[in-house]
Symmetry: C2
Subunit: 458 residues, 2 copies
């Protein structure tokens, strides 16, 4: 695939130099819009306007949608008003809104003043919905039928109006704009004859979302029900738009990426890695690094307080990294599992006690096995192989008891914090590894010194 | 939503007690199969067979597909042969294969012996494809057209055969089973008249996958091209099946969950959290905990070697947790970012140098800012507020220089290891936070003692 693209951009560059415009057009029209956009993104910027003008109108608009915002902006700035209008005419409203959201103000102004009046109104309406709402990702171009139509009427209606609709496969039946039913093209085509009334074959129990529904919740519904499209209604159950499965897939993918970024201790970014500058990456990473560095102050303070004890039994220091890492890993295992389950809608706050009870049992199993293994490791590696006589069985016992308790505490904190965060309206992903590690570090040190006081400093 | 379900299961239980079977049937037929399965999963097991028999045939099969494997198995064991055959008859092949893969051997045998001969053959054929291949998730029920058909012929053909097809919206044009084109129902319906030949309106440049293509790669293609379905061909470009968008969405979701689990230091699990027993969770978590605990031996060994130095300047111990955490966090930021970009197909091994160079510049920015902040924090908190006179500016300098170097090394390791893992054929997600942390811990200690030797132990 990649090698194919490399050849393709070289070929296009050579064809351009030789002014073989007809051949370029022929080559491009065999390709898929996503692939054309990928090839374009690797070509020199000055060549884009010429290449773009060689595409047939519809393919040009489809390719435009797939391009990176920087290239879109560059092209728009080079378009004449009529070229811009041609592209806009071919766009679906939701794609137009996505593009408008990425452009600087003066480009937005030019797009809106160039667009046809009803498109301008539609774009403005959709821009008004909150960023993460169903309203912000819906399109207003859907097929609307009436109950009184027959199957034949409906098919005629689709044939007349379908060309401008984002999907024709799911049609919505309305009465005074209120959503009363749904019928698929499959049902229409498989109907016994053309005279059957829509009201007789339509699905009346239509699952819909409101303009205010969170877009991730909508995407989860696609996952659950395998819909091609879902209708969006306003406060009075009037249909105002639809969301199609491709947009839901995009939402699911960005949501997973966002979760992963936050869990990795970064603020989420819209840009892909290769498009991000080092300064972009820096901006998304430094806040968490600073926050976590400063919160590690607590571990420093604890060590400060117990400095004398450490001086007396320096050998205790040797096991601090292992205890902290094992605690951190145990906690992050639980938090990551719970964060993902929350994201997928598998568990809710009411499951908290069930979850804690499950984690406690898991933690006891994990803690005991790790502690026993650790005791063996300490006696073998640290005492025998490294020949460190300060590592007595009592020291090993102290370390292993600390480990059991740390693993249990880490898992309880790890499962509780994400659920509490969700309940309080924060993103549970914030409570992942880096954050849990910092808390667990401090706790494991306190437990460590507490147990050493009992066992070693009697 | 949830409250609605709770009421629903209570209502059904009461209706069952009152033997109001007709009403139960009426209630269930207003519901979506996924929702019925969700309600069933909350009811007492003994009631399932009776409830299930109340569902109309098609709805019963659709609900069956959405149920948990345990309930499916229980139902199958209770079915008479003819009931089992009725359910199997209504299933799409890919769903039947999914179910067969989850069942114990004796249930599989019963399913295969009960299924109609051609379904049995199809199931057996599909079971033979490798687990993660396109072949294993495809279905053989697609609409196949011939080039010589007219639009009218095609629509008639769809009307006659479409009821058993997983999707009718994308039709494949074949010649001796070889894939020669594709035409959507939208194109058919919007064709100027019924006499147009399929060969004139079909898309000839069809993107397809082979039975051996990795299923995650197929899912990424849906994401990229917004397809409803993609054809699967064998070695001789004969079409053998199709994959539909809903299966691709499932693959994308499991792939993201799997990545997240591995990144959290667990072996991936097929079961949802609430269905996993503590012992299941233990089994998936303990290998990594043990591995990471044992590999923390290196940090222990390093501290062992430098024990004397620590004894001389115990204050150095105070900053070990902070240095280790900051290093771990820096490394995991990079590794998590790169792992996700690899999963989404954004970067490949050939980008390695570009990625390293970007990470180095980011690391220098992050490292310097964190180090300067850290110097201020140490002088303010540890020296002034905690009043620890052992914390000299030279100690602070040692800590901060270590921090800059650790951040840089962590980010380089964090971005390199996932890409190398991918190149070597391992899952890049293995190289996430827990693993990177362990390596970075050891390196940060070595750097720490190296720099202290230069600055403090001259």
């Amino acid at each position: 695939m990649n090698e194919h693209n490399v050849t393709m951009e070289d070929t296009l560059a050579l064809l351009l130099e030789g002014k073989k415009y007809a051949s370029i057009r022929d080559v491009l029209t065999t390709m898929n819009p996503s692939d054309i956009a990928a090839v374009f993104s690797k070509m020199e910027e000055e060549r884009l306007p010429l290449l773009f003008r060689l595409l047939p109108k519809e393919l040009a608009a489809e390719t435009f949608v797939e391009m990176e915002p920087e290239s879109q902006e560059m092209l728009i700035r080079g378009f004449s008003d009529s070229e811009l209008r041609d592209v806009l005419d071919e766009l679906y409203i939701d794609d137009a809104v996505d593009i408008v959201e990425e452009m600087p103000a003066n480009v937005v102004q030019r797009i809106l003043s160039t667009a046809a009046p009803d498109m301008r109104k539609n774009i403005n309406d959709l821009l008004r919905y909150p960023e993460d709402s169903a309203g912000s990702i819906m399109t207003t171009e859907y097929v609307s039928l009436r109950e009184s139509m027959t199957v034949g009427d409906a098919i005629t209606h689709i044939r007349r109006t379908g060309v401008d609709k984002e999907t024709i496969y799911t049609c919505y039946v309305t009465s005074n704009r209120t959503l009363v039913g749904m019928v698929s093209v499959k049902t229409l085509l498989l109907a016994p004859d053309d005279e059957v009334a829509i009201s007789d074959i339509m699905e009346q129990n239509v699952i819909s979302v409101t303009t205010q529904t969170d877009k991730e919740e909508v995407a989860q519904m696609f996952q659950k029900y395998n819909f091609l499209a879902i209708p969006v209604v306003d406060g009075e159950t009037r249909i105002v738009g639809i969301i199609t499965f491709d947009d839901a897939m995009d939402v699911l993918e960005s949501a997973a990426t966002e979760d992963i970024e936050i869990m990795g201790g970064m603020t989420p970014s819209d840009k892909t890695y290769l498009r991000s500058t080092p300064f972009d990456l820096f901006k998304h990473r430094i806040p968490w690094l600073l926050l976590l560095m400063v919160s590690a102050t607590f571990t420093g303070m604890i060590l400060n307080v117990f400095e004398e004890k450490l001086q007396a039994v320096v050998v205790l220091t040797i096991f601090i990294p292992m205890l902290m890492d094992t605690g951190g890993n145990s906690g992050s295992q639980s938090s990551v599992t719970i964060i993902r389950a929350i994201s997928l809608g598998e568990i809710e706050f009411t499951d908290l006690l069930k979850v804690i009870w499950k984690e406690i049992r898991t933690a006891v199993l994990c803690g005991c096995v790790v502690a026993v293994a650790c005791f063996g490791k300490i006696m073998l590696v640290d005492r025998l192989i490294m020949n460190n006589n300060a590592v007595t069985p009592w020291v090993a016992l102290t370390v292993c008891l600390t480990m059991v308790i740390t693993v249990c505490v880490a898992k309880i904190i790890g499962c509780t914090l994400p659920m509490v965060a969700k309940k309080l309206g924060f993103d549970p992903a914030v409570m992942a590894a880096p954050f849990i590690t910092t808390i667990v570090d401090a706790i494991s040190l306190l437990v460590y010194f507490g147990i050493s006081s009992l066992i070693l400093f009697r």
